[in-house]
């Protein structure tokens, strides 16, 4: 069932197995684009008009004022110059609101909904897709290779499969894809995740997915061109008012209902601490339940929705330095959008590619068993199974007392919480522990034990002897930790190298990785000791195992 798919096998299949054309709904996206937008617009406007009669926070006046207020605040804090004209437009709306008739408010609501719908909507250009899927992997491969000659460079063009390893029950994911709509839900560590995942899907013969990409990623015209033409829709995370969130959710719901495979990062943003996601954003996730319910109400019994948990595991993370700085800085904890990290610097990206991703097994994409919108595991036939493996009909979760499918938003919100817990369990179970992370955890445990604290702000002040660990002690502790992990499957899986190679070799490789890419080495071997040079980065990599209990603690 859950088998390791070697890179070479995947590479082999890449050439021979075409993308599942029948399930690539995105090829028909442009033809349906206007219809989709009209549908989203109608649903959102109708829902708001229906609720408006309740008055108070539901009144159109309140809704429109919230939009105007949020937009003014956003523009006023914008670093860009001359947003004055735009600010004036929103101030004008705010001033007019009190004098507006209900029909004028309605017209304004309709107009704003159109405006945001158009801002969000994506595009899919099959020609760009063919180009990207044919050309990008080899180019990426070339970029990511430590080549010293053109001959090696040409060889690298065909070796992309070596860089990204695929693991997990890929056959079950393909089976789910044939039976319903996929919602791919990966962990999120880096802006490279979407590229790596797109490549992973391609290597598995899975169709491309549509996804909401942060608007800040569209600032680079080159990346923006590909994103906009490969099905990505734009999510402006600066817009926090309800109308925008509802349009976004409805857009996602309609796409799922129409069979467009989608990608959400349920963590919402990259994990700053490098811990596996501990809390998920429920907004977009909830659209999986809503879309399934809408399908059933429309009589589309076959309109199943399958969530596909995925962990993306990097030996080193491109943006680690910025992310952990941000996590540790008190003010940084609230910084949601980072637009000045390593991802925006092409030189750092290429350096990362050549020094880190170029090495075999530097990135592992591990698929989890698909689950239904109620958190139940899905078997190879696309059927839901409860925790004891019994067949369960997902329709039954949505029926009311009379056996009819009903809309109950509170109930669906709870199901989404259940789903998020199920996804997090899957993330833990399917996290692949890489040598760098295991070594970081062991070093952290040793240093914290001697210091008598795990408080990172205290550990950051340690120097000298306090941050040195004898190599022999490190190797012994790594050996014990890997034994502990291999006997506790629910907490994660060990990377193949940790099982196949002797501990000193694995430790040596981890130390080499740690000294290779970051502006400052994380740790360095000196004499027969390991010296910690960057406690912050050590903490960052150790955090991937934060859910693993300390030695001797149950």
């Amino acid at each position: 069932m859950t088998g390791l798919r070697s890179a070479s096998r995947s590479r082999e299949s890449q050439g021979t197995r075409a993308v599942l054309a029948t399930t690539n709904r995105l090829t028909g996206f442009n033809a349906e684009r206007s219809e989709i937008l009209a549908e989203v617009h109608a649903r959102v406007v109708n829902a708001y008009l229906k609720n408006a009669s309740r008055g108070g926070d539901n009144s159109l006046e309140y809704i429109l004022n919230e939009v105007a207020f949020s937009e003014i605040r956003r523009l006023e804090s914008s670093p860009n110059s001359s947003p004055q004209r735009q600010i004036h437009r929103w101030r004008d709306l705010s001033n007019r609101l009190l004098r507006m008739s209900e029909s004028e408010k309605r017209a304004e609501l309709e107009s704003l909904t159109w405006y945001y719908c158009r801002d969000i909507v994506g595009n899919f250009n099959p020609r760009v897709f063919r180009f990207a899927s044919g050309v990008v992997p080899p180019v990426l491969s070339f970029l990511l290779s430590p080549v010293s000659s053109w001959r090696e460079g040409m060889a690298a063009l065909t070796e992309v499969g070596e860089k990204v390893q695929i693991q997990g029950p890929v056959d079950a994911v393909r089976a789910a894809c044939r039976r319903g709509t996929l919602v791919v839900t990966p962990t999120h560590s880096s802006n490279l995740d979407s590229i790596v995942l797109a490549l992973g899907l391609l290597m598995c013969g899975l169709p491309p997915v549509t996804y909401g990409a942060g608007k800040n990623l569209f600032t680079n015209p080159f990346i923006s061109y590909f994103m906009r033409n490969l099905g990505a829709y734009r999510v402006d995370r600066r817009l926090r008012f309800q109308l925008y969130k509802d349009i976004l959710k409805e857009y996602s719901t309609v796409l799922l209902e129409r069979g467009y495979h989608s990608l959400f990062f349920p963590g919402g943003t990259r994990s700053r601490s490098n811990r596996i996601e501990e809390r998920l954003k429920l907004g977009l996730l909830g659209t999986a339940v809503a879309a399934y319910r809408n399908n059933l109400m429309a009589g589309k019994q076959e309109g199943r929705i399958y969530l596909v948990p995925v962990t993306i595991n990097y030996r080193l993370v491109l943006e680690a330095e910025t992310l952990i700085e941000d996590y540790l800085a008190e003010t940084g904890k609230s910084r949601y959008i980072i637009d000045d990290d390593e991802f925006t610097r092409l030189g750092r990206m290429i350096e990362f590619g050549r020094k880190i991703l170029a090495h075999k097994g530097a990135v592992i994409v591990r698929f989890g068993q698909p689950i239904d919108p109620f958190g139940n595991r899905v078997d190879g036939d696309g059927e839901s199974r409860d925790r004891r493996g019994r067949l369960v009909d997902p329709v039954s979760y949505l029926t009311d007392g009379s056996g009819e499918i009903g809309i109950d938003t509170q109930r669906e919100a709870e199901y989404t919480r259940v789903l998020s817990r199920s996804l997090m369990e899957s993330y833990r179970r399917d996290t692949v522990f890489l040598p760098t992370q295991v070594v970081a955890r062991v070093l952290m445990d040793e240093i914290a034990r001697r210091a008598g604290t795990r408080d990172i702000y205290r550990l950051l002040r340690l120097t000298g002897e306090a941050v040195r660990v004898p190599m022999s002690r490190l190797c012994d502790a790594v050996e014990r930790l890997r034994k502990r992990i291999s006997t506790s499957p629910p907490i994660g899986v060990l990377d193949g190298s940790l099982n196949a190679k002797p501990t000193p070799v694995v430790v040596g490789e981890a130390l080499m990785s740690f000294g290779r890419y970051h502006t400052r080495a994380v740790v360095v071997p000196r004499d027969r000791e390991v010296w910690v040079e960057s406690m912050k980065l050590l903490y960052y990599y150790n955090n991937r195992l934060s859910h693993v209990a300390e030695e001797g603690v149950s």
Binding site: D386, R387, R388, R390, V392, P394, S396, T399, G401, E414
Partner: protein, 327 residues
């Protein structure tokens, strides 16, 4: 019909008394018992030897077939012993689906892992719409039609709505709703442990003043533990917490209270008394408190006396919380 019928798993005194109260309001109730004699007795005579003085209403029936139960009713109350709960719920899981609503009426944390019963419901069945029923509704009050109250707690509004509609028989049985499922389950379990403590205090003749101090400090530590557990502090002063404690800590009818009295006399019961739900809850709660690093002097003292590590007479000193300066 199916949505108006209540199913009760277990034909113990509480389950039967609850079924009787609901059926006496004309509502259909079906009780699942594994004992054929009990099923036949109820269906044939409308009586049960477990509650010999009661004549059940005709709308109360019994079955030995869980499939029939699942077919006939969507709202199911699990009222079996802690020892039997996982097995019975597992059997139920074979016949129910996601449309069923399951609430339990057990005031315990279950070993191994000291887990809440609602988690067992979710683990052993496909049902997700689960909840808990707790409060000072004694089986004797339910039979007598006295003013009894229960709280039905669930994360699903739909479950609490249905619980109130199907179980409430005001004024004889008033059902309140709550969303703090973890709090209600923990409060109900802790009430048993604290009943042992109050029994000890009464057995030692401590008087009403120390008794009141004991109860208020117990509630304070329950709220602290609840807070660390993700529950709401006010749940512990509600029906499931204080309500449950007050009703139990006054009568030798209750095993937990009797256990406290016996401990105060210097007896070390090692039979069924020791296995009382309150005793088990005390041990479980201490483990839970250690995991969450919460101070629980009352529970520590109760478990120490139960384990024979502390004399009951010295427990009062141990309970006096020397760390807390503020209430």
């Amino acid at each position: 019909m199916r949505q108006n019928k209540v199913a009760i798993v277990g034909a113990g005194r509480f389950g039967l008394a609850l079924a009787h109260r609901i059926a006496s309001a004309g509502r259909a109730v079906v009780v699942w018992s594994q004992k054929t004699a009990v099923v036949e007795e109820i269906n044939r005579d409308h009586r049960c030897s477990r509650l010999p003085d009661v004549a059940f209403a005709p709308s109360l029936s019994a079955t030995g077939d869980p499939e029939e139960l699942a077919r006939d009713a969507r709202f199911i109350v699990v009222a079996v012993s802690a020892a039997a709960v996982r097995e019975r719920v597992r059997q139920l899981g074979e016949v129910i689906n996601g449309s069923h609503m399951l609430v339990h009426a057990l005031g315990v944390l279950v070993s191994p892992g000291d887990i809440r019963v609602s988690r067992i419901l979710a683990e052993e069945t496909p049902a997700l719409r689960v909840g808990a029923l707790a409060g000072p509704a004694l089986w004797s009050d339910l039979l007598a039609g006295s003013f009894a109250s229960l709280v039905v707690a669930s994360h699903f509004d739909e479950v609490t709505r249905e619980g109130r509609r199907l179980l409430g028989v005001p004024p004889a049985l008033r059902v309140y709703r709550g969303s703090d499922l973890a709090g209600v389950e923990l409060a109900a379990a802790l009430a048993g442990a604290f009943t042992v403590a109050v029994g000890m205090s009464d057995g030692l003749g401590m008087g009403p003043g120390p008794r009141s101090v004991l109860i208020t400090r117990a509630l304070a530590e329950a709220a602290r533990l609840g807070d660390a557990y993700g529950a709401e502090a006010r749940t512990f002063t509600g029906l499931a917490g204080l309500g449950n404690l007050l009703v139990r800590a006054q009568s030798e009818q209750w095993r937990d209270y009797r256990l406290g009295l016996a401990l105060a006399r210097g007896e070390t019961p090692d039979g069924p008394e020791m296995a009382s739900e309150g005793a088990q809850a005390a041990f479980a709660a201490v483990r839970l408190a250690e995991r969450h690093s919460v101070r629980v002097p009352v529970l520590h003292a109760v478990s120490a006396v139960l384990a024979g590590r502390l004399e009951p007479a010295k427990a009062a000193n141990a309970i006096a919380d020397t760390v807390a300066a503020e209430e």
